[in-house]
Amino acid sequence: MMLRKWCLVLLTCLLFTSAARAQLVIEVTSGADKLLPIAIVPFGYNGTDPLPQDVAQIVQDDLVRSGLFKAIPRSSMLSQPSKLSDVYYRDWRLLKADYVLIGSIKNISGDRYRVGFQLLNVLTQKPADDYTTIDVTKNHLRDAAHYISDAVFKKLTGIRGDFSTRILYVTEQNAESKHPLYKLQVADADGYRPQVIVESDEPILSPAWSRNGRDIAYVMFKNMRPRIFIQELATGKRKQIMSFKGLNGSPAFSPDGKKLALVLSKDGNAEIYTLDLATQKLERMTHNYAIDTEPAWGPKGNSIYFTSDRGGNPQIYRLDIKTKKVERITFEGDSNYRARLTPDGRFLVCIEKVGGDFHIAVQDLKTGRVKILTHTDLDESPTISPNGTMVMYATTENGKEILAVVSVDGLVKYKLPSTDGEVREPAWSPYFN
């Protein structure tokens, strides 16, 4: 009997390890100068079934990953209150915490749980926000945690949190064999809960979100020819929308969701087109013998930023949709590729080639100032979080492709290493609500 129990424990451990191995792990490699000290107290729980998630720990990981917070370690907590009446502010002042988050989880029926939480200000010795509850099923405790992270982040920084958003990315297994396996996956922004959307033995690239987060577009090879697909995430229903001779690539949904910018070479060489999703009408946007590719919509939808080597080297250009006027945007480094814009339109993030290295660079479109954000040398595919503060990108570490994140101000960096083959082509979702 005893032995069987141990076997079960062992088996469970094994299962957990293999599940964890498939997920991305966060490492904060550097943080901002002034971190806000906060204590996230383990949440109280009245149930008997063990909870699948440590909600307080997820909240703590979220906040620490933002690079703006420093968490008081659980081991140094003098008490672990879960309701306001049990809180002794002086305990937290001793630990130099500016804020304390307390919470509790109650099993309300079947697999439904009520998660309550409150943020407290140690300096004023008063609640910093109202007591809030959310009801979730067992499977959604992680969503509850991200919801709490968003609420705390918003309260303390004034910025909308992006902890409840998701990422698309492509993995390649058996990369060096004759039978590589490509998977388009979606996961929480922290890399947890990965789900495979598409699996193929031919390359997948350029995943992109629609602005409401319901549909995605991507490029997948079929019979070794690139094709563009649009797929509804919830149902898995997908449509091949582009299969011209030559290139079919770089899909990008317009901010109003009505158009898709893309790249075709049906008229001779790589040019940018827009496809009206309702009428299926194609409109050619660029006319140049050079490579024109990697379209990214300006946040208002009235311009398209793109990569072109019309000036000799690849640089970022901006096309005014109404006037069709094209203007060069980047001038620093040897060349610049694949622009992405922050939601406020203030910053352009791209890949800048300096010497033989490829870094993430950010250009202030108001002042023209350029800052190199990374010091790794094979960076690609930058994608910006919906609150405009973080850039996720693909890079290579010890010969392996991984995802990493750097803040737009360059102060915060973390990596999402994975053991699940090569990881690349991240695309950060919009807000879902």
């Binding site: 390359p203 070794m224 290139l247 990697e294 990569t307 590729y337 694949r338 033989g356 290579t396």
Partner: protein
Amino acid sequence: MSVNKLGKFAVVGLSAAWLAGCSTTGANTDASTATTATNEGTATTEQAAPADTDKSATYAANQDNSVTSVVDNQQDKAKTSKSMLDGVATVFYFSFDKSIVRPDAQKALQIHAKYLIANPEEHVILEGNTDERGTREYNMALGERRAKAVARYLEIQGVPASQIETVSFGEEVPVAFGHDEKSWQLNRRVDLRYEK
């Protein structure tokens, strides 16, 4: 990467050196790169190549080709059988961010052209590839440009466009997996495949 591939590369490199040595039409940056490659046993970077001059070189090179390569159709018919392709290179290498058909590729391409002209039922697929550097979609376009450069070379030799198909794999289908110039050079290539 396989030893086989390396061997093939060495052969291509050697002929490049020979061609560069014989060349009287002055220094094409590509030729000089290939020469260094042979000397060191590895391919070299081509960062030294100024990009602006290269573009004009493309057109110049192609014009040169159209002049020098009047196809000799009076050749013995026996020489247009498939055996004439034995040992002829089917992989053609490029410099970083360049799509110029290197001089060392021309001899092999002229033989392929001769074969295709003599066998109109034959078709080739030209698969353009890039190294892993730079962005994936830009590399898709660059791979296509390389495939088209080889296609144009064959067309100038007289091969009907209907016998040629170009496709780009960008950086998605490498043959060498290192993150160094040696691997990158092997991946910056156009593969020529016959398909009925």
